[in-house]
Amino acid sequence: MHYRNVLLAISVLAAFASCTKNTDNYNPPDAGIHGAVVDAITGDSLQSEQPNGFRIRLIDEGYQDATPIDFWGMADGSFENSKVFSGTYKVVPIEGAFFPADTQEVAIKGMVEVQFKVTPFLTITASAAAEEGQIVTKYRISRDSVGDKITVCKSLVSTHPTISNSIFDKAVTHDLTGTDDNEILATEFTDTLPGLEGGKTYYVRIAAATNNALNKYNYSRIIKITLP
């Protein structure tokens, strides 16, 4: 029986003998990239959702046909990836509710900050007022560049700050597929979100979408409201 244990020990030792500490390993990634995607016209950061809002694509120029590294941006338009190998990259924001953006060439060493200017499909300016047991939103939709037909807009309310088109407690939705775009852009929408509890804090947001290929929504800023 003892022999078996000894043999086992020897074989385990033998198996690990080939491992050495240094020769086999790369250093871990020590550089990073962060920054924000902003509206080219207003200069405000792009309002988005998380997850599924937009992504930042990194293409390492040090390799031929390098596999792109994609990572998701955050709901307020900022992004950060702190585990990137140093080097020169092509960087571009993709798959968001904005027109295709320009690629930037970035030398990443240490923590680098980058800003992207994009033109969103739609821009939404909104306000919200607390009333007894309900919230009333007022908003307008505008745009700087004409893209696909505007199809939908909605007022959303949630007790979670991560509020988005798919995370909400109550919503008022307008189907705009049959409404002319110019009419939509000239309208000030007013929605009432009823049935809310007094004394509770809510997050309110407006979402609107065009008939874009990836079904992405544009958003207003998140408005935090405590009901009386």
Partner: protein, 584 residues
């Protein structure tokens, strides 16, 4: 000990050395070699059976392969049903659930097609087989394109010779190229195959037309409602929509005109007739079906979906699904739960709540207190007495001698319903819970293509092309058989046609999921959405039932990225020319 070890080692060495001789390089006696297959009829039949078996039909055995101890049916992705308690899904997928990168199957089909022409059989026989395999391969490509959009089109067997790696790494074709390939291959297959199946379960000419009608409907909807992206790798050109609607219309029309198939109408009772349609093996409606053989290959839907307290109830239809069924007079199917003041209506006979519903409702869904071989489906959420609501989670708890909850829920055993309903379509009332046919499975077939679907495909293509009276005729064929009010030409709209499809094809092979996906409606229908259960309560004093509703399960969201599945990253690392779908 040591000695023994040495002798084992020595033996091992000897064995290893043995393999160095060519003595062992003989063909295994229990496996038929590739070259021999095509000289033997029963081997060809077996090969064909394997190819059929690889078609990823989402039949009643199909469960979504996700890492959980759950039994997840396709109908749970659309809110047609929910699972039983503690097994609710909290998501409708992440783009990997419904994978099928079936290039092993495509290769087998290609191998068959390359070898069959030189096999020594009569030409008629070879034509028949070739047609069947063209049909099967087209079916594979349809299943690929509906999941991923454009995929590499490989029609020849690929072989690695040591230096041709580059030519084996094929880039994706456009989605349009794949749909066009499917269409032309099915035309070829239809020419080669006969009008009737050579053997039960094999395809014939009409199966090719039926599949073509289905595939063209998908292509047309992609063009009409989708978007082109990645230079056409996904999406269909919008200008071509009518071309594909027309192709679907024509393919369906061939089946209708030739009159070889008809709607199942053997019984006078409309509900029994519709239930039997899925159980009667001598069925004039079946165009292409999967057959089973007990005990080698069985279907076990009866085990998983039946109302069976200890282990069943995995398909609990939602109130939304129940209300989608109209009343026989054609009025909206909303159940009359409350009076005009909003107070619950009392029903002395709880089954009376469902009186006057589309007969297909009772054939598709077991509702509270409907009759079933093992007795009425007793679904009671609790008892109301003196304004108090008494509930429990234990069937054995009594209130003045009466079980507080029903034998079949709501609450109690794990296998009980969570929505108040059980599915009935495809369940066989000839069996009882304790039969081996339930616990071990049985050989009731699954119908993949039926004449009813052909009519609905025809109706959808017709309404999209503006041929309203054709659409009305087909929808009324379906409604007439079902036993509900026929529609006038003016009433037939795109939404009505889609609605007819929803109720006629409910719980069949994930149809609803793929339909709402190709119509690009899924992200609107399932967005932070919870589905509803129907809770019957017994009013002790009035000896009558009232019904309440409750949202149950998790809020589900269909993210737009799910309009295409994710290409498996392992495939991209093998073939770097593959471009990933958007949002993955």
């Amino acid at each position: 000990m040591m000695k023994k070890l040495f002798s084992y080692t020595a033996l091992l060495m000897l064995l290893l050395a043995c393999s160095c001789s060519s003595v062992l390089d003989i063909a295994p006696q229990n496996i038929i070699q590739g070259k021999d297959v095509f000289s033997n009829e029963s081997a060809i039949k077996a090969y064909l059976a394997t190819l059929y078996n690889k078609i990823p039909i989402q039949d009643n055995n199909y469960q979504i392969p996700i890492n959980a101890p759950n039994i997840n049916y396709m109908s749970q992705l659309t809110g047609e049903s929910l699972n039983n308690a503690y097994r609710w899904m909290n998501s409708v997928g992440d783009g990997t659930w419904l994978q099928w990168w079936g290039y092993d199957a495509v290769r087998d089909a290609n191998e068959f097609l390359e070898n069959i022409s030189t096999a020594e059989f009569p030409d008629d026989q070879k034509k028949e087989w070739e047609g069947q395999v063209l049909f099967i391969r087209a079916y594979y490509y349809f299943e690929l394109v509906k999941r991923y959009g454009g995929v590499p089109l490989i029609t020849k067997v690929q072989n690695f010779n040591g230096s041709n790696l580059d030519s084996l790494q094929v880039p994706r074709n456009t989605e349009k190229e794949i749909y066009d390939f499917v269409a032309s291959e099915l035309d070829k297959a239809a020419q080669l195959m006969g009008e009737t199946s050579a053997e039960r379960g094999e395809a014939n000419r009409y199966a090719a037309y039926a599949l073509k009608a289905r595939a063209m409907l998908y292509a047309a909807a992609e063009a009409e409602y989708g978007h082109v992206a990645l230079n056409g790798l996904v999406g269909m050109p919008a200008s071509e929509a009518d071309h594909y609607w027309q192709a679907a219309y024509d393919a369906a029309k061939k089946i209708i005109d030739d009159k070889k198939y008809s709607l199942y109408a053997k019984q006078d009772d409309k509900a029994e007739n519709f239930a039997d349609l899925f159980l009667d093996q001598d069925n004039p409606e079946t165009i292409f079906a999967e057959y089973y053989s007990y005990p080698d290959r069985v279907q076990s839907y009866d085990n998983r979906a039946r109302p069976k307290p200890e282990n069943g109830g995995h398909v609990c239809p939602t109130l939304e699904m129940a209300e989608a069924f109209e009343y026989t007079d054609g009025s909206d199917g909303k159940l009359k739960l409350t009076d005009s003041q909003g107070n619950p209506i009392e029903y002395k006979d709880p089954a009376a709540l469902f009186a006057g519903k589309d007969p297909r409702f009772a054939a598709t869904i077991l509702y509270p207190f409907s009759s079933w071989p093992t007795g009425d489906v007793e679904v009671r959420a609790g008892i109301i007495d003196n304004g108090q609501t008494i509930t429990t989670n234990d069937y054995n708890q009594l209130y003045q001698g009466m079980h507080i909850i029903g034998d079949h829920g709501i609450g109690g055993n794990l296998g009980n319903t969570t929505t108040g309903f059980y599915v009935r379509k495809y369940l066989d009332p000839a069996y009882t819970e304790t039969d081996a046919a339930v616990s071990r499975g049985n050989d009731n077939p699954y119908i993949d293509m039926r004449y009813g679907e052909v009519l609905l495909n025809y109706a959808e293509a017709a309404i999209e092309l503006g041929k309203v009276s054709d659409a009305a005729w087909a929808v009324n064929e379906i409604r007439g058989r079902a036993g509900i009010k026929l529609l006038g030409d003016g009433e037939v709209t795109r939404d009505r046609v889609r609605h007819e499809r929803q109720v006629e094809m409910a719980f069949e092979g994930g149809r609803r999921y793929w339909d709402t996906r190709r119509w690009r409606l899924a992200d609107k229908l399932i967005n932070n959405t919870k589905f509803t259960a129907l809770y019957p309560y017994y009013n002790f004093k009035d000896k009558a039932y009232i019904f309440k509703t409750l949202k149950v399960g998790y809020a589900l969201t269909f993210y737009p990225k799910l309009y295409y599945e994710r290409i498996p990253p392992a495939e991209i690392s093998k073939d770097p020319k593959l471009i990933q779908n958007p949002n993955y």
